[in-house]
Amino acid sequence: MPVKEYILRRLVLAIPTVLGVTIMVFLMMHFIPGDPVTLLLGNNYSEATAAAIRQHYGLDRPLHVQYVLWLGRLMAGDWGSSIIANRPIFTDLVHRLPVTIELIILAMGFALLIAIPAGVIAALRPYSWHDYMAMITAFIGVSVPEFFMGVLLILCFSLAWDVLPTVGYVPLTESLWANLRHMILPAVTLGLARAALLTRLIRASMMEVIRLDYVTTARAKGVREGAVILKHALQNALIPTVTVLGLQVGFLIGGAIVVETVFAVPGVGSFGIGAIALRDYPQVQAFVLLFALGFVFVNLVVDILYVFLDPRIKYSPSAH
């Protein structure tokens, strides 16, 4: 199947998923006990205003009509207003999303920075002490919840050895250095569990690839060992890693919610958790919707990138 057709097909397949996600998030608001209009008005409640608001937002119309209206507003950039702060949620999201994206990218980068060398070294000397050390560390790494990892890092780098700030945030536009200093602990916290998982994965796929004939051929041709490992073996061993990258972003999003709360990072996650505590449901809805759509989008991008990394997928008629 040509690349263009594959990408097009993947894009078309994403449409029902996106619609499914929006329907679920929309219905979620209807499952939440309590009337949103009563909640919205608070002390200013009166029958007449309530009726007016219901009419304005189409809340008196049938459910499917409400859904279509709501979807239309979303696409127009009207994500509703927060009840507590009484300002457009969309503006808040525009400010907070880049923070969360930066956190996730830094965490992923850190995870790969640890996982690729650790996985390769462990695979090259299986059952050596390097391997055992890497595997034991990785094993413990996948068993630590993010918030506890955050606590341990705060203890080490902020309280015992005062080198990094515990909480707070400085925008990237203000100062790159100050921004990074504040982001290091959250990003490392978020990245460590992923690093542990990816190390195990890279080790396994590297061990498989390195026994294949083409690697032996490369060695027989007299290619230097370093080049055999890095160019011939690693490139193919990383393909399974790319496939799970989309899934990893799912875990990173979940982790970001916790990590942003621990370190008071002003991203979308802390925005959502704060809103849940205050029962600010329009804000909760926006938070859930944005993360869910972001996850779908990342998976789409990973699927498309995959074609370029693994040429075999193009020729497979069953690719979907």
Partner: protein, 303 residues
């Protein structure tokens, strides 16, 4: 066309043929057990889990103090009297950690059992019958999988209101699509085996075919995933408690205790560390056992 066991063709029982699944099944489990016994790490995991169950069951007997009784002796560092210190309200952290095991073990195990109970029939139906049923079930599962797991758990907790029972429900719901997918995948591959053709030729009833011949051959991946999932479920439970979306105080949970004591970290880090270590050790134990089970059940995966 399907023949009933009592119909035109004699069933295996009538022919007095020993059911092949009986002998193979027994030796497979024996072999698994033998391999598992050789894995030291899996045994360590199992030992910790057994200990954990004992602690959870006997919490009232083991804990030296009440986990919820407040005392004036607050924020104490570890002493002989209070080996893990006391929290802001003067409650013994050691006793709270012991009692906290109950929620973690209960939520971890029950939620996964519940997910298995729903996920297996869904996966079996989708994989075995295919067609319309497969389409409907798997599309629904796909939409659920389009959400990051933790986000979905949060959404469910917002809808259901925080309580231990609802955490169990939320965790079961987020695991169902994953289990259904695994079961469906195994059924699809098991279905193609020749012995299933042979069993079909014996004209067994469909429940018997599914229950006796297909499901047992799909059990290995289910058991491995379930064990590892208990660890994951305990992490998610603790994270939800940490965010205040899980079991509500004063019931002790490791996640909520850690969050509460975090505000005192500069004065007394110990009372934050111990609940965290409890979570770490518990999750580690389930991961060790799950990993050992994977190697034992599927030796091909091990070099």
């Amino acid at each position: 066309m399907r023949y009933e066991a009592s119909g035109v063709f004699p069933s295996s029982a009538q022919l007095d043929v020993p059911d092949p699944s009986e002998t193979t099944a027994r030796s497979m489990w024996l072999m698994t057990l033998r391999r598992l016994r050789r894995s030291k790490t899996a045994l360590v995991g199992l030992a910790i889990i057994v200990l954990l169950f004992l602690v959870a069951a006997l919490a009232d007997v083991i804990a030296p103090y009440s986990p919820i009784q407040t005392t004036p002796q607050s924020i104490s560092v570890p002493t002989w009297e209070h080996p893990m210190g006391t929290d802001l309200l003067g409650r013994d952290v050691f006793s709270r950690v012991i009692h906290g095991s109950r929620v973690s073990v209960y939520v971890g195990v029950v939620s996964i059992l519940l997910a298995i109970l729903v996920g297996i029939p869904l996966g079996l139906t989708a994989g075995f019958y295919g067609g319309r049923a497969d389409q409907v079930i798997m599309r629904l599962m796909d939409v659920m999988l389009a959400f990051p797991i933790f986000l979905l758990a949060i959404v469910i907790m917002v809808i259901l209101k925080p309580s231990t029972m609802n955490v169990v429900l939320a965790l079961a719901i987020v695991r169902i699509p994953i289990l259904a997918r695994i079961v469906r995948g195994s059924v699809l591959s098991v279905k193609e085996n020749e012995y299933i053709e042979a069993v079909k030729a014996l004209a067994l009833s469909q429940p018997r075919l599914l229950g006796r011949h297909i499901l047992p051959n799909c059990l290995a991946p289910i058991i491995v995933t379930a064990t590892l999932d208990i660890g994951n479920a305990i992490i998610i439970e603790a994270s939800l408690s940490f965010l205040g979306l899980g079991t509500q105080p004063p019931t002790p949970t490791w996640g909520w205790d850690l969050k509460q004591n975090l505000t005192l970290i500069e004065i007394n880090p110990w009372i934050t560390i111990f609940p965290g270590v409890a979570i770490l050790v518990t999750v580690l134990a389930f991961n060790l056992l799950g990993d050992g089970l994977r190697d034992a059940l599927d030796p091909r995966l091990k070099q």
